[in-house]
Symmetry: C2
Subunit: 137 residues, 2 copies
């Protein structure tokens, strides 16, 4: 197989999701286009990452349109962050939905927020206490 290129998520309100992923999550729009059946796709990229996220929006007239319902296929989108607790607080202040506040698991700190459609976003990073200890501060 050739190259796993990106993940596409379905969004119910394109403007709302674009605002969330650019203004709250800090991603940048790379390109957008319209499918033959009227659907719209937008490619986003986070700074310092080659991973792409595609937003897919379908009009009711599209053969791919389905009533939106939350399911279990997509577990989460994951972001590596330097400071999990500070990032969690900042994202929630900017409008992300808090899901699980920061907790520690071994060497890692984790937290979850969700996007406007209810998609879970994981924040994961090295536990700050450990990092300070390792660097001798």
């Amino acid at each position: 197989m050739d190259r796993f290129a990106y993940t596409g998520i379905r969004v119910r309100d394109l403007d709302r999701s674009l605002r969330f992923y650019t203004r709250v999550m800090g991603m940048r729009e790379l390109l957008r286009g319209t499918m033959d059946h009227g659907g719209v796709y937008v490619h986003l990229k986070a700074p310092g990452s080659t991973q792409r996220l595609e937003l897919n929006w379908y009009p009711r007239s599209s053969p791919h349109y389905r009533p939106y319902r939350n399911g279990e296929e997509l577990d989460h989108l994951a972001w590596w962050v330097r400071d999990v607790p500070a990032t969690f607080r900042r994202l929630v202040r900017r409008g992300a939905t808090p899901r699980i506040p920061p907790w520690r698991e071994g060497r890692w700190e984790l937290a979850f927020v969700s996007d406007p459609d209810g998609i879970w976003i994981e924040l994961i990073g090295r536990a700050l206490g450990l990092r300070r200890k390792a660097s001798g501060r």
Copy 2:
């Protein structure tokens, strides 16, 4: 925000999904681990790509366990491929579920298959006819 690192999908049968993503889709296992509540995660990478895919499996005892149901959050996982029709045929022969056979849209050729849990996988590449024309063959 720091770095969009990977997409995690929930799988119902970890062995079945691992076989699919490694033997059919050609990905490679990078690491695996167990979460405190008993869930298992496996990171996969496709050759020639920095994108990662995480498989998440939860035992019934996990607080994150939910009855599996298909929903609309995850639109698809996308692979760039050199030869869309040939790749579509090969994947279906190896056990992927055919969803939409190859078709052309502008400069692109597209097709969809799905994984053992019903997750749609897009194959996208330049239309071969156009490529031959462009290179003068």
